[in-house]
């Protein structure tokens, strides 16, 4: 089980986490006619939100114990990984209906228009990139026994 500890008070708003997340979910694009192809960064699954009092809050999926998104999906496209505890999107089953994103109370699930695909934090399948790159310790990863 992986846990990500979020401490908004420590966040400096540098957005290194967003960048790290984007690249952790980048896809290699095929060479297309007339173009070069290359690396296409993904939509960041963590977003630093700025509050009314100018505080920074990194927002990402809480992997809720009783997750609304899982209950919302009618196609069995959301499954919790037993290894990491993260709720993962099965893109083959997903119909992009958007109900999971609508049901999430926190806005931590979103449609990546360019692919298109429904995306959310998957705890990087066990090695949270955001925590690795967070310079202040506002995001810290921890591995817990099951």
């Amino acid at each position: 089980m992986i846990r990500l500890h979020v401490s908004p008070k420590l966040c400096s708003g540098c957005r290194s986490c967003e960048m790290a997340c984007s690249y952790a979910h980048a896809e290699v694009e095929a060479r297309v006619a007339g173009g070069l192809g290359g690396l296409r960064p993904g939509l960041p699954r963590v977003r630093v939100s700025v509050t009314g009092t100018r505080a920074f809050v990194p927002m990402l999926c809480f992997q809720c114990d009783e997750a609304r998104c899982i209950g919302a999906c009618k196609y069995g496209a959301l499954e919790r990984s037993l290894r990491t505890g993260a709720i993962e999107v099965n893109e083959e089953r997903c119909t992009l209906c958007g109900l999971c994103a609508a049901a999430c109370p926190f806005g931590n699930m979103e449609l990546e228009h360019s692919r298109p695909a429904m995306v959310k934090c998957d705890l990087c399948r066990g090695e949270p990139a955001c925590a690795k790159f967070c310079p202040t310790g506002a995001l810290r990863g921890a591995s817990l026994p099951r």
């Binding site: 846990r3 979020v6 420590l10 809050v57 809720c64 119909t95 609508a102 049901a103 810290r140």
Partner: protein, 290 residues
């Protein structure tokens, strides 16, 4: 584990696995039109056929690989003269129904038997679902619709799986088409758009503008996000799902960005002591969602 033979190679499969999934797992390309991972296979298009023999020497049977399950000792061939012929015939017939469909055209080019090597060495098709059907063809807001229906039944099965059951295949033979009961616009349709996005030929028109979505001859008012005004869900869909999920309509139709903003306000104000130590062990939102 079950041992079988695939194009002469020994492969291992698990109990109950479909031949289609086994073949793809070991790198074979099997064209499909009516298969969708989120719903039960129906064997409607017969594009996915393979030839099987119970013994290496026995007579061959041509079966849809999306329906056929593995059996010990089965001898499966994915490229034979028979298989090629069936696929070509299928595509030719389907092209009559959906001549405009880009997906079908590229498929026709591929199985179309330009040379006998065409099937053996397939080129990358542009838009067909080679093992990743959902979302492979995105019927977008600009989807013109009307490319032609091949009666794959993906739309009707997905709609039924969602519990709406608004559309079905009506009529037979050349007259067959998908619509609401009695050929009328489907009353039970919620405007979710899942059918249009999943349709492999791009036949289903989904148009959205000025806060109105049109599909299957019906018009759906889009509810706008209470924060920014972006159109989120059709009212009918949102009201139905709001009751099912026990989530207020307002919350359900706020966009992710606005929801993130308002939750950040809450989390930003959490007491410093708790936040410094990290939010509680099992996540701050333990049990929040009912």
């Amino acid at each position: 584990m079950i041992e079988l033979r695939l194009d002469g190679e020994l492969v291992l499969a698990s109990e109950g696995e479909r031949l289609l999934d086994v073949a793809r797992r070991v790198g074979r390309r099997i064209p499909t039109l009516c298969d969708h991972p989120a719903v039960e296979p129906e064997g409607a298009c017969r594009l996915c056929v393979v030839e099987v023999r119970d013994r290496a020497e026995g007579p061959g049977r041509v079966v849809p690989s999306c329906l056929e399950r593995v059996q010990p000792g089965l001898d499966v061939r994915t490229v034979t003269q028979e298989v090629k012929l069936v696929r070509q015939t299928v595509v030719r017939l389907l092209l009559r129904r959906a001549p405009e469909s880009a997906a079908l055209r590229s498929l026709a080019e591929e199985v179309g038997g330009k040379s006998s090597e065409a099937v053996r060495e397939p080129t990358e098709p542009a838009e067909i679902n080679w093992g990743k059907s959902s979302g492979a063809v995105w019927a977008s807001e600009e989807n013109a619709g009307g490319a032609g229906c091949v009666l794959c039944g993906i739309c009707t099965r997905l709609c039924a799986a969602a519990g709406y059951d608004a559309i079905s295949i009506q009529g037979r033979g050349a007259e067959a088409r998908v619509s609401g009961p009695g050929g009328e616009p489907p009353e039970a349709c919620t405007g979710c758009g899942v059918c249009a996005r999943a349709c492999p030929t791009g036949h289903i028109l989904l148009a959205e503008s000025g806060g109105v979505r049109r599909i299957w001859g019906r018009r759906f008012e889009m509810i706008r996000c209470g924060g920014c005004g972006e159109a989120t869900l059709p009212r009918e869909l949102a009201e139905l799902e709001s009751r099912r999920l026990g989530v207020t309509l307002v919350e359900l139709t706020h966009c992710p960005t606005c929801k993130r903003r308002s939750s950040a306000e809450k989390f930003g104000e959490l007491p410093a002591r708790r936040t410094r130590e990290g939010l509680s062990e099992s996540g701050p939102m333990k049990g929040v969602a009912r």
